[in-house]
Subunit: 554 residues, 2 copies
């Protein structure tokens, strides 16, 4: 996800609902949380993977993004064969599946003595287009540095070279950019040391009968999740390789029903807690390297509440009340902060306590998220109240359920537009009131409307072109949840088959950051090769299929 | 130096003058020599060097190779200043002098948090043109990999990155190829860890009065030598970074009168001895990394004899008769092998014992070196005989002086062309007889002609355009020696002032591999930026000025 820095600067100036005394207590706990986070850093499982064959990218207007990958021979026809041969000057290997980790190679001498450096370029690709579309001149809006092309000067044969950067992808193109002529040499070994903190997944973890289509969706979702499970739940192992609260929530939901690496969830929760702002507000994203540090100023108040929901899910999955109790002040601080945004009517106002504050629910230009946030706030209030009570912290939660009820009624009263026959979102005079699928989704999820009305709302929103559509796999996850909540199980099943299944049909090895069936070239960064094609927030079919087996089974 | 592989294949098939019994004895000593070579690997002196300022390459038709370097500000105006500023997107720093070693840098955060990789390209340059002439598409005949442009993906600020490759040059261009936009950062440190095995040179080592011109030539020669003195005497620290016998000879000559790191000479002599062919023939060049190995098949019989002369000079400089005696079998083997090429008349025949054998005396297309080799063989026979006697090995040298005398007379009789009034070189029916400066130089050095006649010969050869001119600094060194030998001291002084002084006037920080006053773009590799601009065989003014102070003093 891309941050909007101007928002942070404003948000960073805002106060929170935390008293000075609370802030002191909170601050004193931070070091302990950091110690626990560091002590619980997952040990990665490593696996050495070698290419399974040669391939070539072939232009094909009917293929995803205009490129398909065709087989191009046995790997054995390349390894050991002269790199000076024209046919070996540009070769693409296929590792057979999406991998994340480090890459090493060795060039072996075939004849005489290497008397000059060999210059090689390695280009890693998650999707075929990254093998074929020129990276320069780079038109993208995020750093050119994300693209995975690395040039290496090989000075010695029979020595192992390891690229200094972690990489992610399925395919690797090798271009010989320069070499001496008085000797001969060949690629001797190509080895990817793949890492994950997901344990081996046993096939019986999903014991419902599935169609081939859903089985493929599940495999792809599990691969996506495993690839994103590194020392944190990363958003995308190619890009941008960090811990976002939104991804923790969705990945840990899926993990709870699949890989069950609960230590990873615990590690992430502690890391986020330890790196919160001094006033208790969580940062939306944090980095582990070179040492743990937050994306300072990245206050995204929808994500803040997802921390609480992830913590509640973690407790439910593990029974680890020690951790939940230890982190309770963080959960409380997020609610306290959120409540400062709620006006006297019971409506969440993103302009309170000052400035325009950052919320995230979807990737769609111009979307207004306040009504969605109203729904999430209601859910978070109730779930966090339940969490507090279960931890013996009922006193901390006083009034939260009442506020949730008030907000639910207020939503109905102030956010529902009778003429539009829908919930709208906007600020008179600032942001024109808009009709979106998103707002209906979150009103349904928050029980603002009963199931039957919810189904009507969703059906209307999805069929009426005047409603702003959803943009991202992230938002689609919550739409599926909302559909199931209000009994639209056939539609939910069809949506997963259509949306995630669409990616599978277009050749996805892992689910993509961005997907719109009507536009293969969609990119929030104005250059689709820099999109992440293995993205945590797209892994949720692994959760949905297990959580709602009746909806998805054959 | 570039090798001619087809010659090696032929040469490798030839037999030597060594008996099977001698070969066995020789083989048994190789491991001991290798152990001594490894044990004596020089410990490099390191120095951390920071840039002294910013510069820019400016097109200038009157400058060497069309580019001059102008000052472009204080280094402080770049370090700490945003790399996102257009003015910092492509910057060249000047380290103030030619350096060899490793380069490290650090990017520091100025604002917010680095949320994507920075892509940087570093281009190291020995001469200004390397900063400005595009490297691609690469037209050169040797590996593109020698050019020193390295691209780095910086993932972390405030962390030190070290380029994985050793580098050599004075200037470094830094191009920002990609960066995130939501944060700000600057180059925090640029540090070159320079290495040499030359100790600090004390100014009093040359205690004769010198003109400014010769003082500058001497400084440049000393810098060249020090830069080439690494764990071996390298030919060029940028390219091709290895130990050639010809360079050992010239560098150790200069070292004996300047830096006096005799252990380095000893290390190189042992390394060459240990890596000789099984039959005792030395390889013309060897590599230390990843483990010591020869350029197998690189038999250059003129270089082989220079080993003996370097060993004799080493003994004279150090009195280390243990090493000289230990390596005596190597010296003897080179003479024995050379003698197999001498025909009944006493003439060195490069086609014996079979094939066309490799000799090197100069870099000049079409030059025929057999007459030069006749001279070198005479010198090597006599000097090696003297060496053997001084080591108590007189028995081994029986007949060598007599053969030298015979070869001297034979040269006069068979190689001197009365019509041409010059020594010629060629093989009737194979290689047309040619007149070259080179042949006269070596006849003079070998005392085939008395001084007065030698001076006439040289003067005639240098003034008559029908004589093939010398091409390289390497050959020019021997011309200076020959001039001094036959009393042409004014001409010798003028030649050093003109040839090496010419490089200084054109801006040389170190002396170049290739120099022709009439062609700044001359390159044996069809791309002048890949020439070496710090080349061992050009360092000999440091020797000449000290060996012949009367010739060069003011």
């Amino acid at each position: 996800m891309k941050l909007k820095s101007f928002l942070f600067l404003i948000a960073a100036l805002c106060s929170t609902g935390m008293s000075a005394q609370e802030a002191d207590v909170y601050a004193s706990q931070r070091q302990g949380w950091l110690d626990k986070a560091i002590a619980s850093t997952p040990v990665l499982k490593t696996e050495k993977v070698h290419p399974v064959g040669l391939v070539k990218a072939v232009a094909d207007t009917s293929a995803y993004q205009g490129w398909r990958v065709d087989p191009a021979g046995e790997i054995g026809s390349y390894l050991g064969s002269s790199l000076k041969d024209e046919k070996n000057k540009s070769v693409t290997v296929d590792f057979g599946r999406h991998l994340t980790g480090t890459f090493s190679f060795r060039v072996d001498l075939l004849d005489r003595v290497l008397d000059g450096p060999i210059r090689l370029r390695f280009t890693f690709a998650e999707v075929p287009a990254e093998l074929a579309v020129p990276f320069d001149p780079y038109p993208g809006t995020i750093s050119r540095g994300w693209l995975q092309d690395e040039t290496v000067t090989v000075e010695f044969t029979d020595s192992v070279y390891t690229l200094p950067r972690r990489l992610s992808g399925r395919y690797m193109k090798i271009d010989v950019l320069g070499h001496p002529t008085d000797c001969d040499f060949a690629m001797g070994d190509l080895a990817f040391t793949a890492t994950t903190s997901a344990p081996e997944i046993a096939p019986e973890t999903l014991d419902i009968p599935l169609s081939d289509e859903f089985a493929a969706i599940d495999r792809t979702a599990l691969a996506t999740l495993a690839e994103c499970m590194q020392t944190v739940y990363e958003d995308g192992p190619k890009r941008d390789r960090r811990l976002w609260i939104g991804d923790v929530y969705l990945e840990s939901l899926a993990n709870n029903l699949t890989y069950k690496n609960h230590d990873l969830t615990r590690h992430c929760l502690y890391l986020l807690a330890a790196l919160a702002n001094e006033d208790g507000r969580l940062h939306a994203n944090v980095f582990e390297l070179p040492e743990p540090h937050p994306q300072r100023g990245s206050f995204c108040y929808s994500y803040s509440l997802l921390f609480n929901m992830a913590l509640a899910e973690y407790l439910a999955a593990t029974g680890d009340s020690d951790t939940a109790r230890d982190l309770w002040p963080v959960a409380k601080a997020q609610i306290d902060n959120m409540l400062t945004f709620v006006d006297d009517r019971g409506i969440f106002d993103r302009f309170r306590p000052g400035g325009f504050n950052w919320l995230f629910f979807d990737w769609r230009d111009g979307i207004e998220e306040s009504t969605a946030m109203q729904g999430l706030a209601i859910m978070a209030l109730e779930q966090t109240a339940d969490l507090g009570k279960s931890l013996g912290m009922a006193d901390d939660t006083k009034g939260w359920n009442a506020t949730a009820s008030k907000m639910r009624k207020a939503a109905r009263k102030h956010l529902y537009d009778k003429n539009a026959r829908a919930f709208t979102s906007g600020y008179e005079g600032f942001i024109p009131s808009q009709k979106s699928v998103l707002s209906q989704v979150w009103m349904v999820l928050a029980d603002v409307v009963p199931a039957k009305e919810g189904a009507e709302l969703l059906s209307r929103a999805l069929s009426d072109p005047d409603f702003i559509r959803l943009g991202s796999p992230y938002a689609h996850h919550f739409l599926v949840e909302a559909m199931i909540k209000c009994g639209m199980t056939d539609q939910a099943r069809a949506l997963v088959a259509d949306y995630w299944g669409g990616m599978v049909r277009k050749g996805a090895d892992t689910f993509w950051e961005v997907y719109d069936a009507s536009d293969d070239y969609l990119s929030p960064y104005r250059f689709y090769p820099v999109n992440s094609y293995c993205h945590a927030w797209s892994c949720t079919p692994a959760y949905l299929l297990r959580r709602y087996p009746a909806v998805f089974q054959n």
